[in-house]
């Protein structure tokens, strides 16, 4: 991979372990301005871990991570908010950075939840909350967006609209996006670079390259390589403790 001044975050052979068990290891990737890099892989393959390494949430890592920006917007996969806090959507929008009311309104309108601005965060549905999370991340016009399954729980039409929005944001703000998604259809149509994870990098490259890759086929099944086909995960191999792949 080329290293240039457009690189926002770069992982070099990065890995993270808890109690001597590797969650993910040997990941190298970089996100550049205006590009969307997508992480795919089965449950437990280290996608969220990789995102947290990139964000610097996990600090005791193997390898290295270089970030050249601190204007970061993050949508975590799981968020537990303590309802002992009286927190409205409006308060949540300015959580990590004070932004103008106009920017708040703009972002909430883009994700279709402007009408919830004065609602208590605890009163939102899962999908509504997800839209608020995305609005918060984009409202401060970040240079790097890290989106960990940003449309989970969002209704079907909303899902497509939000993915289009993410693509649009990437173009308009010229920001880099590190996306984690299960929806291969969307991944393949909007992504510049795909990294397929399964505890390590199985394969990576342009969506077309990855779709043709044998390891990818092994991981996701033959059907998934036909880009438009419905995503169906077949875990047809196991990882041994040495990190080798064995067919079932």
């Amino acid at each position: 991979m080329r290293d240039n001044q457009n690189t926002l975050v770069k992982l070099n052979e990065a890995g993270f372990r808890v109690n001597n068990k590797w969650l993910v290891r040997g990941v190298s990737l970089q996100v550049e301005k205006g590009k969307i890099v997508t992480l795919i892989g089965p449950n437990g393959s280290g996608k969220s871990t990789t995102a947290k390494i990139a964000l610097g949430i996990y600090k005791k890592i193997d390898g290295s991570v270089e970030r050249s920006t601190d204007k970061i917007g993050y949508v975590p996969q799981k968020i537990s908010i303590d309802w002992t806090l009286p927190l409205r959507v409006n308060d949540f929008m300015v959580l990590t950075e004070s932004i103008s009311n106009d920017l708040i309104d703009e972002a909430l309108s883009l994700t279709g939840v402007i009408h919830l601005k004065d609602k208590n965060l605890g009163d939102l549905s899962g999908g509504e909350f997800q839209r608020v999370l995305l609005a918060r991340a984009i409202s401060k016009k970040p240079e790097l967006l890290v989106l960990d399954e940003p449309v989970q729980g969002v209704d079907f039409t909303g899902e497509i609209a939000l993915y289009e929005l993410i693509k649009k944001i990437s173009d308009e703000l010229n920001c880099g996006i590190l996306l984690i998604s299960h929806d291969l259809h969307t991944v393949m149509s909007a992504t510049d670079h795909v990294v397929c994870l399964n505890g390590h990098v199985c394969c990576s490259g342009s969506p077309m390259d990855v779709a043709k890759n044998n390891e990818y086929k092994a991981l996701f099944g033959e059907q998934a390589s036909q880009i438009l086909s419905r995503y169906e995960h077949k875990h047809d191999h196991i990882h041994t403790s040495e990190g080798e792949i064995k067919k079932n």
Binding site: G56, L85, P86, L87, R88, D91, L95, T96
Partner: protein, 267 residues
């Protein structure tokens, strides 16, 4: 005017309430009430050391409470004991050691009741200075760390990911907790300081819809508790600490009555 002990007590109480208001909100949000208890129990040791070394009480309590807080953080990292067990261990052992030290200091006459439950008669002009200057410093620092502290209270990973350094904010907040205990010990006494922190904030939670409102109501609740408590303490000749806390409990009960109305308003 400052010659009058009651005026001094009022000024001291107002100063304490303005600071415990916002800090108390964080104690509730971050679930730190037992942490507050542990720090205030350890304050007894600070007081006895102050007496034995003829040192300023507030300063000595601040040092000891900070040390206990740092010890707690280290123990959490190095042992497999649960947090509440560690809190209990530190609270009771520091209280016990404090009482043992008192036993050795038989040449000094201690007002144990005043120490445990507060004594408005004991508030001096020097204490007022410590409360108001110390209180202003606490609020200033809290304002500086507000954003990272609040963001990490809502969600640690969001704050960390977006570059707010929540660990540093947490460490500073711990020091602020030790500081508020040090400056309010004479007013409310070490057994009841946590009450002064959490009861007005709990009252505020019942009636507020945003974090800013909760902080403001918490300060107002604290001020009312101090004024009500001190006047009744004078009237009925009761210890100042329990009177203030009882007044705040009264306000808390009133706020419960208000909940039904606010639910009606919502719908």
């Amino acid at each position: 005017m400052l010659d009058d002990f009651f005026i001094r007590a009022l000024i001291a109480g107002v100063g304490v309430a303005i600071v415990t208001g916002p800090l108390g909100c964080f104690v509730i949000w971050r679930r730190l009430s037992y942490f507050g208890d542990t720090l205030s129990h350890s304050a007894l040791l600070g007081v006895t050391l102050a007496y034995s070394m003829e040192f300023n009480i507030a300063f000595s309590v601040f040092i000891i409470s900070s040390l206990i807080a740092l010890t707690l953080i280290q123990l959490q990292k190095r042992t497999n004991l649960p947090g509440d067990a560690l809190l209990g261990l530190l609270a009771h052992s520091s209280l016990a050691v404090g009482l043992v030290v008192i036993g050795f200091l038989s040449f000094i006459r201690f007002d144990i009741m005043g120490l445990l439950f507060g004594d408005i008669l004991a508030v001096t002009v020097d204490d007022l200075l410590i409360i108001w200057i110390g209180g202003a410093l606490i609020l200033l620092v809290l304002k500086l760390i507000w954003k990272p502290l609040f963001a990490s209270t809502v969600n640690y990973e969001l704050a960390e990911a977006e570059g707010l350094n929540p660990d540093r904010a947490k460490a500073i907040f711990t020091i602020l907790m030790a500081a508020i205990i040090a400056i309010s010990i004479k007013m409310v006494g070490l057994l009841l300081i946590t009450g002064m922190l959490i009861i007005p904030a709990a009252m505020a939670r019942n009636i507020s819809s945003s974090p800013q409102k909760m902080v403001i109501y918490s300060i107002i609740g604290g001020l009312l508790s101090v004024i009500l408590g001190l006047f009744s303490s004078l009237e009925f000749n009761t210890a100042s600490g329990p009177s203030i806390i009882a007044a705040s409990l009264f306000l808390f009960i009133l706020s419960l009555l208000n909940i039904k109305q606010s639910i009606k308003l919502k719908n």
